[in-house]
Symmetry: C2
Subunit: 377 residues, 2 copies
């Protein structure tokens, strides 16, 4: 392997995973971010690794890439652990709960689709669901997806940051103002690299004209709560449901806290938390898991997902040689391992892992269009 000078723009989960794996592989890595780990959507997120429960007919490219990354997650976590860092990867699966007839019909469609493509997902009664999670509200029925697990995103981010530093990655606490295939410019000057990878999430469209239309900020509000004395502890699984047309999830943490997310709407680069978003999330959670009403609300936050029209990220070279590793939509945590492995492959002159070809940045502009789904979710 030829060791390269690698510039990484952005230190969310993608930038940190790329920086860690590249530095570990012997490259000289410099990461640009004014607030590594804590500054963006990855820090705000819930940490679901859920390609199957989020699957839908027509979105096969997203499912294939998600599953490819999920397969890489255990080894990714093991490598981190071998270096002395834990990321709170859970073995508990995901429950999807249906509260009314429409929800149940939606789960029927999803279950049929998953069965047809050979994925494990079990349709269960409300009684069976409550046997798994006794604190659930009056659920009608549900779907068990054992393969969709979750990670403690904040522990992961801190671990990746520390592990990358331990491997020699250098962190520059500045925003990239501009970049090219071989340089990154900040307020304090220009730095030159052999390769530059753009991992700036929702801000990527502002940093590269090829992505100006392709990556848009997709705002999400999210709450953190904690069980109090006398309340039920959080569920053991991730619990998902659609309440009044809005998808909601509850992801437990092993300290008795709970992440409750997430709204989804377009509001530019605004990260203010709206009263309405908070009220809607709490209302939905009270229906799904009534004990949450007495939980302590410990944090409200909003993050900007790097939205892409077809929910598939942009992985690969842009027109000027900058490599894109962005546009991960709702799936940055899930897709971090496959994305980092893709960057390692590019640095070695090899193609990326299975599924990354369908994520190439020019897929929607090149003549030979792939059949990646284009539905908006």
């Amino acid at each position: 392997m030829v060791s390269q000078d690698l510039g990484v723009v952005g230190a969310g989960v993608i930038g940190l995973a790329v920086a860690w794996k590249a530095a570990r592989a012997g490259h000289r890595v410099t990461v640009f971010d004014p607030s590594p780990a804590r500054g963006g959507a990855s820090w705000v997120a819930g940490g679901m690794l859920a390609p199957v429960a989020e699957a839908w007919p027509g979105e096969e490219a997203a499912l294939a890439l998600g599953e490819e990354s999920l397969r890489r997650w255990p080894a990714f976590a093991d490598e981190l652990r071998a270096q002395g860092f834990d990321c709170g990867l859970s073995a508990h699966g995901t429950l999807v709960a249906a509260f009314d007839h429409a929800d149940a019909e939606y789960l029927d469609v999803l279950a049929r689709y998953l069965a047809g493509i050979g994925r494990e997902a079990t349709r269960v009664t409300g009684r069976e669901l409550r046997r798994e999670e006794p604190g659930l509200g009056s659920v009608r029925s549900g779907l068990l997806v054992p393969s969709d697990v979750f990670v403690d995103n904040r522990r992961l981010l801190e671990s990746l940051l520390a592990a990358a530093r331990q491997c020699g990655a250098e962190f520059v606490a500045e925003n990239a103002e501009s970049l090219s295939g071989d340089s990154v410019t900040t307020a304090s000057g220009v730095r030159h690299f052999d390769t530059v990878v753009l991992c700036a999430g929702a801000h990527s469209g502002r940093l590269h004209s090829d992505l100006a239309q392709a990556v848009r900020p997709l705002k999400g509000e999210i709450l953190r709560l904690r069980a109090r004395r006398g309340t039920l502890p959080p569920p053991r699984h991730t619990v998902r449901a659609v309440v009044e047309g809005r998808p909601v999830y509850l992801v437990p943490r092993d300290d008795g806290s709970l992440v409750l997310g997430a709204t989804q709407y377009e509001a530019g680069f605004d990260t203010g938390v709206r009263a309405r978003g908070v009220r809607e999330l709490i209302e939905a959670a009270e229906r799904i898991f009534p004990a949450v009403t007495e939980y302590e609300l410990t944090e409200t936050a909003a993050g900007l997902r790097a939205g892409s029209d077809d929910t598939v990220p942009y992985l690969g070279p842009l027109s000027d040689g900058v490599y894109a590793a962005t546009g991960h939509h709702r799936n940055g945590l899930l897709l971090a391992p496959v994305t980092a492995d893709a960057v390692l492959a590019w640095l070695a002159g090899r193609p990326g892992p299975e599924g990354t070809e369908q994520a190439r940045p020019d897929r929607n502009t090149s003549e030979e269009r792939t059949d990646a789904g284009v539905g908006q979710r």
Copy 2:
């Protein structure tokens, strides 16, 4: 006047007002509080100075004391201003909004009662109310109470702290562990004083056995929100209403923010913010002033009011000579001026202002019981 050594236990609005006025009058003042201004219920509060809108038949003692203090508020604010500090005392009054028949009947009772005792309060139609505040929801009718104004409680607390320091008050950043009529004990030792005043709010009952049953923590959750681009600005008046049986208020700040309070329940010394409390407050506010749904939620907090059974504070000597200035229930901000003036009077050997006699700490145990109301609110 004989200058005294005065120990003040607690630096919420009562302790700070006492410390400032006493130091200004030439006494040597020492205040004990690990977190002056910011540590307690006064910091969390909304800042309403509203004895009239909170009046109710049978609670004449609370009304009399509240009005006595409200009369002292302009001079109190002027004195602070003369020393260079502003407290954001507003001239805008209070609107009470009724959304259904039951609310309207409640306002009828209140309006008749206030008219009977000669207080200014005008019963108005929903249309008239919306002329005052165009952003109100579908109100049925209302009550205008021009004399009930409000103060920016945080600006006030910071002003009082700075003004007290400027007058020579000394602040010890420690909790009082015990106290007597002439001493205060902290972890670092015993300090002796001519007079000790207990202003420890909800914690007073833990510091003095005479108050153990009399002062109880009365928890309240409260939110702070801010208008965003494209939303209506906050109302100009304090707007109060009862939504689903729960009293709610919106108090504007002159920076485009809004204080939304407050739940009220007994939960010991727990200051965790419950999910339910946040959801209920937002729901209620959306009904009263719908634009708030798009406001940014900037803070959630809970405070412990110093609850007293009859809503009247405890002002005067306890059995061992400690002076009590606590148990201000929902009215610490309102009652700060009259309380500080009472302490000045005691230091000079004079009786306190009008209304304070009915607030003496032994009122419910002495043989000649006053006819202060004893209803629980």
